[in-house]
């Protein structure tokens, strides 16, 4: 089976600091893969490398067999990779609806001419993205907040809006950076159901960073553990829980 995403020996160093060393992970279509590790282990850096925010110092990143290392983030998004952010990055001066609309600009295939003259061809596209944005908001249960400023939403809803915005780019592969951060156990359980639901509904493959072990163990079939930028283990949740190196990384040597 060919992997949807494959990274081969990816390194990233900032000056003398090796943030990520020899990251080699593969993600199969339809999987939900977890990326865990203590703070500062290089998880978000790995996300930034794959989504193009950072360029790897060395190594290869392939999405659907295509080399994407060094490509611009917007070009990688166009191929079908979307993400959310650990520290929520919504467009704060915009309404909830507009946040989703922006994410569809790339797929609208419009040009300046038809957009400013409001030609019928453009108005059709505009109507279509509005319908799709409303459908997405209904999907994540934010319909009644459509016109509200994005940052006026409570924290949990902002997280869901960020996921909806990522979905609006029509991804095949979705990266979630700590989606359960700041959620209580009840909300975390709901989030697990939500992740499984969108995976099936939008035929997604998901990679997530998470500290809530309940969430990771609940939804991920496979996981990678990073520590100081090095992949110290990977396998099923059961294997990881028993792995002495993982226990040591989290709790310190006994």
């Amino acid at each position: 089976m060919s992997a949807l995403l494959q990274t081969i020996g990816v390194n990233k160093s900032f000056g003398g600091l090796a943030a990520v060393t020899a990251l080699s992970m593969d993600v199969q279509p339809g999987e939900i893969v977890g990326l865990i590790g203590p703070n500062g282990a290089g998880k978000t850096t790995s996300f930034n490398l794959i989504t193009g925010v950072y360029t790897p110092t060395s190594g290869s990143i392939q999405f659907e067999g295509q080399e994407i290392a060094g490509m611009k983030p917007h070009a990688i998004t166009r191929l079908g990779v979307a993400r959310t952010f650990q520290n929520i990055r919504l467009f704060k001066e915009m309404s909830v609806l507009e946040n989703i609309l922006v994410a569809q600009h790339m797929r609208m295939g419009t040009n300046l001419f038809e957009a400013t003259l409001r030609l019928p061809s453009y108005m059709n596209k505009e109507r279509h993205v509005h319908e799709r944005a409303r459908a997405l908001l209904a999907e994540v249960g934010l319909s009644e907040h459509e016109q509200a400023p994005a940052t006026s939403l409570p924290y949990g809803k902002q997280r869901r809006l960020e996921i909806a915005r990522a979905l609006a780019t029509e991804p095949k592969l979705l990266f979630l950076d700590e989606p359960a951060a700041g959620m209580n156990p009840q909300e975390s359980v709901e989030l697990m159901d939500f992740i499984l639901k969108i995976r099936d509904q939008f035929k997604l493959t998901i990679v997530l960073i998470e500290h809530h072990m309940q969430v990771v163990m609940g939804v991920c079939k496979r996981m990678y553990v990073l520590d100081y930028g090095v992949t110290i283990a990977h396998g099923t949740p059961e294997e990881i829980q028993k792995n002495p190196m993982v226990i040591e990384a989290y709790l310190g040597a006994g």
């Binding site: 998004t77 467009f91 600009h105 990522a166 780019t169």
Partner: protein
């Protein structure tokens, strides 16, 4: 897009049409009524609207702090002026060194000359954008500021093109009220449509969060260059209008202070508001003239000062400081004029229809 689309003509459309008709009638009446001096100020309002809107597109909507506007104006002004001058005029003007031969006998009507001026400014804007938009914030401001100084130095020294510091005199007074206000209205309309389109949303997303915009598939660099190019084009057009409004141009007019004047309008009106820029352009232009008495001898009651030229600008600079300290969002913030907003604050009767959203 409007929910009120079922009606043959919604109240807002009627109001807009009505306002447009009243506006046109007013322009016509002003044109007949005003003396020449008042008319000049009235025309300057229109030119300043174009300048403020074009600067607001980059500084306000796309969130790029650019200070190169005077440079783009200069490019538009000089290109337009050189192209409209008759061969005889060129001979009279270029006294120290004659103009380059290939330009000596070129003469275009106003409209093509104005557009070529705008396009050349746009092209230079595009080039500068591709080079300098890798920079951010204050670094970009410094780079664009440097660019506008470079343009000024080139204008002063390229004698065979620009006649150097002697400037160009006796340009035809092409910028009538209709040209000035026609261009201002077209620019406003274009900007409203642009900002309300998907491109406008993309510009604003860059202003709000560049990293998120890039991750949502927005080609941030391309969009910045686009915004910068459009803005330079409009500044070039305004420059051309200004040249044929003043009828005399020289490099000293396009110093940094010119950019500052426009920046003042944008900040007072509200960074990121089209309405704010339009209103502030009119108010500031008129007050600059109305406060001219400040530059002359002042009778303070107990003493009479001798004239202090430039005291007007002290007033505006002080006003700018007050605004930046106490009302950073300016007159309008990021809000725009809409008929619905007028009814919300009680200046128009409230609509009874159940559709709350919509309107422009």
């Amino acid at each position: 897009m409007n929910t009120s689309k079922k009606l043959p003509m919604s109240r807002n459309t009627l109001l807009t049409l009505g306002a447009a008709v009243i506006g046109l009638v007013l322009l016509f009446v002003f044109d007949e009524l005003f003396d020449r001096f008042t008319m000049q100020i009235f025309k300057l309002c229109a030119i300043n609207i174009i300048l403020a809107l074009s600067l607001n597109l980059i500084n306000g909507f796309t969130g790029l702090f650019s200070l190169g506007h005077a440079g783009f104006m200069a490019v538009g002004a000089y290109t337009c002026a050189i192209l409209t001058m008759s061969p005889e005029q060129k001979e009279v003007n270029y006294v120290i060194q004659p103009i380059v031969p290939w330009l000596a006998n070129v003469q275009f009507p106003f409209l093509p000359a104005l557009l070529i001026g705008g396009l050349l400014a746009g092209l230079i804007g595009w080039l500068l954008g591709v080079i300098s938009l890798r920079l951010r914030d204050d670094y970009l401001a410094i780079a664009t500021l440097g660019f506008s100084e470079i343009i000024r130095v080139i204008l002063t020294n390229a004698m065979t093109f620009t006649n150097g510091s002697l400037g160009l005199k006796g340009l035809a007074r092409f910028t009538t009220m209709w040209w000035a206000w026609g261009s201002a209205i077209l620019t406003t309309l274009f900007l409203v449509l642009l900002i309300k389109s998907s491109y406008g949303r993309a510009f604003k997303s860059i202003r709000d969060n560049e990293i998120a915009a890039e991750s949502m598939g927005i080609n941030v660099f391309g969009m910045k260059v686009l915004s910068f190019t459009i803005s330079s084009f409009l500044a070039g057009i305004a420059g051309g209008l200004l040249a044929h409004y003043l009828t005399t141009i020289d490099p000293k007019q396009f110093i940094f202070l010119k950019t500052f004047d426009i920046l003042l309008i944008v900040v007072l009106g509200g960074v990121g508001s089209i309405t704010g820029s339009v209103v502030a352009a009119i108010v500031v232009t008129i007050s600059m003239e109305a406060l001219r008495f400040l530059d002359g001898p002042l009778n303070l009651g107990f003493m009479v000062t001798s004239g202090v030229p430039g005291l007007r600008m002290v007033f505006f600079s002080a006003l700018l400081m007050v605004v930046v300290i106490y009302r950073q969002q300016g007159l309008m913030g990021k809000a725009e004029f809409s008929w619905d907003a007028l009814s919300r604050i009680g200046l128009l009767p409230r609509r009874k229809s159940k559709s709350e959203k919509g309107g422009r």
